[in-house]
């Protein structure tokens, strides 16, 4: 099972969670990012995610490796959707397991922040007024 994966089909959180199990782990922390129906006060009807696949998988795997070096983890995984998504669909799933909760909470937060900052994936928002636009934050 790849630890970082781009997927063009719905994410099954329960199935992903089983990939975190470890006899020494005292718990897991997961984060689910969902498609919401608004952004910056505009009504959003759907999203498209586009990725530069080979580099996204490489960079995603590097983030998970770095997380395992920074935090005391038993497992760390991430799945990110590509393609067309509807409101309410899961866009990204991050999960970590650890012996203790402090490391698990901190690592999960760190991973989603790094994924958003570094992995070459772009979001195209489609708005209720018919317009659409790629998001390029901080530009």
């Amino acid at each position: 099972m790849k630890r970082f994966e781009l997927r063009d089909a719905p994410i099954d959180a329960a199935a992903e969670r089983s990939g975190l199990e470890h006899p020494a782990a005292g718990g897991c922390v997961t984060f689910e990012g969902w498609v919401r129906d608004h952004n910056d006060a505009r009504a959003v009807t759907r999203l498209d995610y586009q990725a530069y696949g080979p580099l996204a998988e490489k960079e995603g795997a590097a983030i998970l490796d770095e997380a395992c070096g920074r935090f005391e983890l038993r497992a760390a995984r991430c799945v990110h959707r590509v393609g067309a998504l509807a409101i309410g669909e899961m866009a990204v799933w991050v999960g970590v397991s650890a012996d203790h909760r402090d490391a698990a909470f901190a690592a999960c937060r760190w991973i989603i922040d790094e994924v958003k900052r570094r992995v070459p994936i772009w979001k195209n928002e489609h708005y209720a007024d018919g317009e659409s636009g790629w998001l390029h934050p901080s530009a």
Partner: protein, 79 residues
Amino acid sequence: MKIKLLYFASLADRAGRSAETRDTSANTPQDLYAEVAREHAFEFSPAHVRVAVNGALAGWDRPLADGDEVVFLPPVSGG
């Protein structure tokens, strides 16, 4: 030399294509970006763009070779 370029997100919209093979005299990603940004009216300054060569992040001054695949990465918005 011939360089293959892939375009994503708003850069693909501006360029009107997702890929092109370009015969160029640019020796580095820095020179190549100046060339394509001018031609396609890209809105991002190099400070807001990252470069990948042959599937790996690279520096702006990395020497380019014939047949390289170059991707200019505008600010990302995953998650």
